[in-house]
Every structure is written in C-alpha cells, then in structure tokens.
Subunit: 186 residues, 2 copies
C-alpha cells in the first residue's frame, strides 16, 4: 500500500460518485476485507459488492493483497487518495462536489470540537467547498507534474501547504472571510 496516491483521471474519479464504493474504501481504511465481509457490513447483495469491488480494482483504488480461506482479501491501494480532476468532466465534478461537501462537514466538526465558534455554519461549509474546488483547479497543473513522484506523508503535507501559498494571491477574498468566520482577529 502506498502512502499517497494522486488521482487526476476523470474516468477514475467518477467511479467515486457512488455511495457504496465510497463506503467500501472507507471500511478498508481500518483493515483489508473479503467481499463477504463487506457484503455483510454494508448489508448488500454479494454480487453487488463484487461488481463494485471489481470496478474499484480496475480503477486502481483497491488491490488484492492476499487470501482468506478461498476468498480474495481486498485492501486500499493507498492510505490517502488525493482526488483532483485534471479536466472539467461533468461526472467527475459531481463526484468532487460530494467529496468536498463531506470534507467541509468534517472540517466544520473538527473546528467546533477544537473550541472555535463558527458564526455561520452554512456559509462556512460553502466557503470551504468553494475554496477546495478553486484550490484544486488552480493547483492541477502542478499536481499533474507531481503525480508520478515518490512523496511521503510529511512531504505531501508540505507540498499542499506550498500550493496553497502559491495560489493564495487569487484566494485573498476567501482567506479574509474564512478568518472572520472562525472568529480570528488580526
């Protein structure tokens, strides 16, 4: 399993615009599982799960990492998938919107748990979504270049922070508003 997998191909990204497949990847975060286990936990027909897992395998999100009895054991191909479409494909955009909504909600919860008082939840969520989408679109040429390079976790975090810095001249309005919503002074 890789640390980080950068995925820019719209055909692959639109595979994630489907809840069961996202749930499968999420479950495999904990540990590798067989199709039967996934089927039981997700309460879905084994043949349905089989079809989804096959698609996830073909698009490189999942890999066979061994056997349990006579069943294949599936694992994630990377700990973190960085999903960032290179083209403006409509289906990929639908998938990205779902991914960003989910991420924005989790970020909201984290900031609340850390003790921030966010004055306007809805605006915060929308601002984060808009920012993530702009950030990805501004960064995609650089991310595309980095796609094949071996990068570890910490390096990856630093690179994302540098990308945010590089793109920040075009994101000053978002920066100002985000600061206000988090109740941060100057």
């Amino acid at each position: 399993m890789k640390d980080i997998l950068i995925v820019t191909d719209a055909k692959k990204i639109k595979v994630l615009a489907e809840k069961t497949r996202v749930d499968i990847l999420s479950l495999l975060r904990d540990r590798p599982m067989t199709a039967s286990e996934l089927s039981m936990i997700l309460n879905k027909d084994p043949s349905t799960i089989h079809r989804h897992v096959t698609l996830l395998k073909e698009t490189g999100f999942v890999e066979v990492i061994g056997k349990e009895g006579n069943e294949k054991l599936y694992g994630r191909s990377a700990r973190v998938f960085l999903i960032t479409p290179y083209e403006n494909d409509a289906n990929a955009l639908v998938a990205m919107d779902k991914i960003h909504t989910d991420e924005a909600l989790r970020l909201y919860k984290i900031f609340i748990e850390a003790g921030f008082e966010i004055s306007n939840k809805k605006e915060f969520i929308n601002l984060i979504k808009k920012f993530l989408s702009n950030f990805e679109s501004l960064s995609r040429d650089i991310i595309k270049k980095l796609e094949g390079v071996e990068i570890n976790r910490l390096e990856f975090i630093r690179i994302m922070v540098l990308l945010a810095l590089i793109n920040s001249p075009k994101l000053q309005e978002e920066a100002r508003r985000l600061k206000e919503l988090l109740g941060l002074g100057d």
Copy 2:
C-alpha cells in the same frame, strides 16, 4: 500508533535537535525495532542507543509495542509528527532550523524530480525555510487548539491547507517569489 501527533512543547521539540534520535525515528518509520537492531544499523554503542530511546519514550515520540525474544520492540507513536513550537525557546528554535533545512532540501529534490526548473536553489531553500518558520509561528495558536482533537490524515492535510490560506494575507511576498522561482506564470 496514531496517524498524526501534534507536538508543541519546546521541551519535547528540543529532544529532536540530535542526529541519532532523528535517525532512530526515521528508521522506525519502516517497522518497529529493538535497541540491538537500532544499535547495529546506526553503528552505535547499545548503551548510547538505550539512552536515546529512553528519552524518546519519555517525550512520547516512541512507544514499546511488544517484545522480540527478551528485548523490547520500539515503534513510533505516530506516523506523522507535526512539530511546531508554541514558545520561542532557543533550543527548540535550533531543532526547528534543522528540521526546516532538511524539509526544504527534500522539497527542492521533489520539485526537480517533477520536472520544475528552479532558477536559484539557495534562494528557494531559504525561502521555504523562512516560509515554514513564519507559517508555524502564525498558525501556532490554532494548532494548539487542535492539539487534542482526533484528526485523520486527509482532514489534517486539509486543515494545513486552510491554515496556509488563513495566514496568506501576511505571506504574499513569499507567495509571489516562490511562484517566480518555480517558473510559474500567472
């Protein structure tokens, strides 16, 4: 092992201003090891290694995760340590300077490998170091608040990117110069 461990305590950070201890943490990235293994690989006296490992354990960077024969097996307490001092302690600053130099060099190599032509290596390294140091100092109040919150890898990356955005109004000069050094147009 945690995913992410945020370390802001200067007393803990200055423990990392010592090459052998950094080497130990680096080796444990691959797999857990005993003091004898570490001693053999690093070609250091077992008692020296024992002293360093004990200090790393006391400061929470390393934990005993089991036994191999009658030796303790040591592992990292987290996959990623986010080291960011909360106070301006002189020893912690020395440790941070070493950490930033190392990170800046690795980032330089990654960008070169990805096909960027960086016009001035020395200025790039210094700019990254200056940026990381400013970024950490601007972010430390927020990071301190987040210290105890359970955050996974992807959330953590997103939060770092948001912090870069929030602080970007004060980092526009760096943003502009970094873009130039990477040969990126508008």
